[in-house]
Symmetry: C2
Subunit: 294 residues, 2 copies
Amino acid sequence: MDLGKLDRVAIVGVGLLGGSIGHALRAAGFVGSRVGIGRRASSLARAMACEAVDEITLDAQAGVRGAQMVVLCTPIGEIEDMFRRIAPALAPHTYVTDVGSTKATVVRMAEGLLPARVRFVGSHPIAGSEKTGVEFARADLFDRALCIVTPTARTLPGVVRWVRGFWEALGGVTMVMAPRRHDTLLAQVSHLPHAVATALVNLASRGRAIDVAGPGFADVTRVASGDAAMWTDILRTNRGAMIRAVDRLIGELRCLRDRLEGDEARAVQRWLAAGKEARDEWVANRYRKKVLPP
Amino acid sequence: MDLGKLDRVAIVGVGLLGGSIGHALRAAGFVGSRVGIGRRASSLARAMACEAVDEITLDAQAGVRGAQMVVLCTPIGEIEDMFRRIAPALAPHTYVTDVGSTKATVVRMAEGLLPARVRFVGSHPIAGSEKTGVEFARADLFDRALCIVTPTARTLPGVVRWVRGFWEALGGVTMVMAPRRHDTLLAQVSHLPHAVATALVNLASRGRAIDVAGPGFADVTRVASGDAAMWTDILRTNRGAMIRAVDRLIGELRCLRDRLEGDEARAVQRWLAAGKEARDEWVANRYRKKVLPP
């Protein structure tokens, strides 16, 4: 994938992720036009003001026309409608990807709604934060971020190669797996942690324990400040894996509860030490593989 | 409390917290001697090398002799033995406090083992990190940190005032509550979050989902990199409140599970929105009250 060969990239939804793609494209040497497509004139104007895109339009079909690549950064709850809207305006060999946090549902929609000659494969760049809005967009958001690309039996290998190249050009490190596998793994490291953070905040605020919370609580619950509507869609479109992950966590907590009740000091310490070891190893590997920054 | 009136403060256990007390005392204008007491010559030497203390000794009794104030930063698992050791060497009106993360057990030990004329009250400065060791000690660790002071029916009001003044001199914001109340609240905002972080890491590392974890996972699980032995003691000495907190969390997760199973989108979104709102409000209040830094 050579960014120099592109002269028009359409970004549908210019918030934190879409805006960061715009900034990162420019930083990576893309000299063509970055077209920002959205549903609200005000957020498009802000994207233009901070130079995340070069053109803006509320007309999705006009926006994607002539683009060699389209990246959908639309919230999952609106993405089906957006696939439907842009489908008629896409040229036959346009590369299309999305950044949705769940993949099985989104990829199924894309394959059902986009013309067969469009080159689609789903993506999930694991970057971002609890912040939303183009004001927080950064050219280095994808720097060493893991970007998962999720082909199906229908995806041509060349499309996977091309979209991986796109994320790598923006600084990412890519990994390829099936949409369902992605959803199972992300339920455990992203969706369940999000739900748990919310549960901890809700419990602590009911009894006002939150008033004595410190920096540890701030970190554990940071993700709970993410957008509620967006996360509702994520949890809903990954319900099966989420339910299994919640059940496993409940099992783990029950086991801890029993050990505390029996005051099994050694078992508790072994369990805590296993967690510490696994996390420390993960942090060390992240650095070594240069997958993600500190 | 006037630091200028003190000429000898003993710090028992010079790690992250003890060392930070040493640095913060000097930064706050204390000109007397800071005595570092410990069980290992090597860590005492490191505390001396980074100028967290002015004198060091392995002999706890010699160390506390002549001190007007003694702060125990000993791990909870060793604190009973330390109270026993220093008790005979404490002058009648010495102020004594500790920094243990659970209070009911520690305060009961102190009141049982220290001479009645010693001025003891328990403390818990909510500061620190998953890091351990005097190398990470900082003069500003207590800056705007919440420091809880936990008197009992036996504590004289003047002692509470004095120990609050001590933490305030180091930059902290103090709050007073009974040891048991402290433990109930901290179970919810510190001990349970710690256990949950460990559970998430252990689950994610078993199925290798951890390999695709990103910055959100890093934050949610940061505390799980804390010292396993120290946290075993914290969870054990707060077993009752921990078991109740685990049960409440399991209840909350079961409720989420049912809502996901029934695909109750609105209920899920309301629950996520309540968490976001409570956390955002807490973060905003923290700034307003200047209790804790960003």
